[in-house]
Point group: C2
Chain length 112, copies 2
DNA sequence: CCGGATCCCACAAGATACTG
DNA sequence: CAGTATCTTGTGGGATCCGG
């Protein structure tokens, strides 16, 4: 999913904006810092990542927590509502994995 | 889902473009003609509906069949691949129905 | 370390009018 | 009936630079 080769953006099923699905995946095992999120999400600029996180926060799917002890330290964590999306997310991933070859075949026979 | 009041576009889960989910729903009980689709999808212009249908066709989710017998007659039908999306679609609808109140609460407490 | 400010572009989506 | 043709607008996503 985080591999540029992996065609997760080819799937017709989307959760939130372009990166929200992957962000939620990154948070499923517990809170992560902003810079920790940037490691698997290398291809996202800081601004866009912030935008996505803010959108998730507005919808109550994620909480933002600022630890101001000496060094700046911001954590993001899934709320219960955010966790409730993990089920649908699994369904979406399973569908994509099962059918992406058919999708590719259909597209290339449609536009040679 | 087709009611303007129903907040299906509020859900973070989306299938295809803006109208694809509803189109697939309209086709789940069998083939439908273009003008039949326009009845429940009153708020979609013909152009946009055509665009969505063409996109679904390119991805192999829908087949377009022209019956040229006197009057023009075009039918759209789900392919097996398209039908395989009905499961994920149900999951998405179930999630939205179960959580849209929480979503609304989160949004209004975020931006008063 | 975690962003905000600014500028930019591509593309989705709609309004409107017209057609084989 | 089932679309096309044009035009316009809005917005998501990105590049780059700047700041507490």
């Amino acid at each position: 999913m985080f591999d540029p080769v992996c065609p997760s953006d080819l799937s017709p099923i989307r959760i939130g904006d372009k990166w929200a699905g992957m962000i939620i995946r990154c948070l499923e095992d517990g809170p992560r810092r902003f810079s920790e999120l940037r490691v698997p999400l290398r291809r996202v600029t800081a601004k866009v990542l912030t935008q996505s996180l803010r959108a998730l926060e507005r919808d109550g799917l994620v909480v933002r927590r600022v630890r101001t002890g000496g060094v700046r330290h911001v954590e993001y964590e899934l709320t219960p509502l955010g966790r409730s999306l993990l089920g649908p997310l699994d369904v979406a991933c399973a569908w994509a994995e099962a059918h992406w070859e058919q999708l590719l075949d259909a597209r290339e026979s449609a536009s040679p």
